[in-house]
Symmetry: C2
Subunit: 299 residues, 2 copies
């Protein structure tokens, strides 16, 4: 496995590779690994990047303290047998006079964008830069970050970038929570409290499976399941049924994706947890995604 | 010479070519031809695009009436022996749900940006799209549109686009005016009136060559030479000495580029004329650029 730090070196390497690409901010967990394994399966070569992208942190967010576990990450990637890891330096990606704005206006100020100003512009920037450097055939992103996935798919489509953007299923922990590097910020009591989140999601699935398609009722039920009196330490940032392309709220739950975000307040910081469940079943959104969540909750 | 209309076809062609690329809006003149000839000289293959880019026209500008001379343009390109011409359809480049913003904030609202809101974002968009489609080794742009050139160089540098952006010398007409498709809008009396523009520029060159480096005096002299009483049909939009990278006004004329824009008012429309002269001589800005202008004025 090659470890590449420089822009020139990664460009030279990329010229000779037909690759799948998995961008990460490190702190690798099984969610990342499932993306990497999918890329290894579908491509002869797989390149993973590890870069904590400063432009996607809003003011007050956890850029400085974002978990850094480079040595462990490299161990994991070596075992997975990826072709190369790209670990760029921040000042090579963003020199001091860097000055580009790039975004998808209609999608960036909704959902998480409301409370993370500039976040999705930062995501667009880093992915555009990495795609220009690596020119991968396929790009693997997790469906946990559904708004991010939607925005990057739109950016690649509209700018005619010759990379297929592949959304990968959410990888859930035993209690149903999507794996996320930020879960490390929660102690065990908080962690057990927020397991209400996947439970409330599974309640929506069950209600819809039982024939209830009243979006107002379903949202209210979700909220009441999450906001138990003994849990004042988190707030619901948003929770609604959305159109999968425009990210606008829609009433037709069967065609929607339900997306929600919680802000969990620990003593030291606020931790954002997001999750989603698609209700229009297709090859892209298979029935299995709902079943995996239901199984976690049952067991 | 291949004439290509479709996105899929140009992408397929581009995969096998190592090319120089000259983007145009058609209405080809000797300025364009000088860019194409430079590309033909420096690359095995040269691709030219002809596309009147709607997103770079500000409200009220001449998008609908922009000169369209496709047949003549294709004749010219055939004789020059370019590899291919790309003539995309507007609705394939910009489908109805297109929604990307891309720009260089510090450079786009100065000089021409003051009176052309959104113009440079439109230029960034179309060039990003064309670069993604064609992936050329070299991109040829004219130095007449100096702000455009500076912005595209900055965009390519900051986004790590693997294309060399080459600024080509201004191609001047006999009276010293830079060739421009929009000159066609001027009748002969207007045309002869605006020939004051290159004369006033050459006066700056001569003053500086004679040792006068007082930027305030030089600008005042330029303005007084242009604004003759009998010429109330144009106004100076800007005229100053600028830093070549930041496009901020600077006092050190020897390190600057002098850029100016006139808005000429005909009965039917307003026509923007721009010009510039670099004063820091280098391999990129050779002495010959000044000499060519001086010669036009003398003869």
């Amino acid at each position: 496995m090659k470890i590449i730090y420089g822009i020139k070196e990664i460009r030279d390497l990329s010229k000779s590779l037909n690759m799948g690409f998995v961008p990460t901010m490190g702190a690798l967990h099984k969610g990342h690994i499932s993306l990497i394994e999918k890329s290894l399966e579908e491509n002869e070569e797989t390149v993973v990047s590890i870069f904590i992208n400063p432009t996607q942190f809003s003011p007050g967010e956890d850029y400085i303290h974002y978990p850094k576990t480079l040595e462990q990450d490299l161990e994991i990637l070596k075992k997975l047998n990826v072709t190369a890891v790209f670990v760029p330096r921040s000042d090579e990606i963003y020199p001091s006079d860097f000055d580009i704005t790039l975004g998808v206006p209609s999608l960036e100020n909704l959902l998480c964008g409301v409370t993370r100003p500039g976040h999705f512009r930062g995501v667009c920037l880093i992915l555009m830069i990495l795609l220009n450097l690596l020119k991968p055939q396929r790009l693997y992103l997790g469906r946990k970050d559904f708004q991010q996935l939607t925005i990057i798919q739109k950016m690649c489509k509209d700018l005619l970038i010759d990379t297929e953007v592949i959304g990968c299923p959410i990888f859930r922990d035993l209690d149903g929570l999507p794996l996320s590097s930020r879960l490390a910020y929660l102690d065990s009591s908080l962690r057990s409290a927020v397991s209400l989140f996947p439970k409330a999601l599974s309640a929506i699935i069950q209600s819809i499976d039982n024939g209830n398609q009243d979006s107002v009722y379903l949202k209210e039920n979700f909220t009441s399941l999450i906001q138990r009196e003994e849990s004042p330490f988190y707030e619901i940032l948003y929770a609604d049924f959305y159109d999968k392309e425009t990210l606008q709220p829609i009433d037709d739950v069967k065609k929607s994706i339900f997306c929600a975000a919680l802000m969990v307040k620990t003593l030291e910081k606020s931790v954002r947890l997001i999750d989603n469940i698609p209700f229009e079943i297709s090859s892209y959104y298979p029935q299995s995604e709902k079943n995996i969540l239901l199984k976690c909750i049952e067991s």
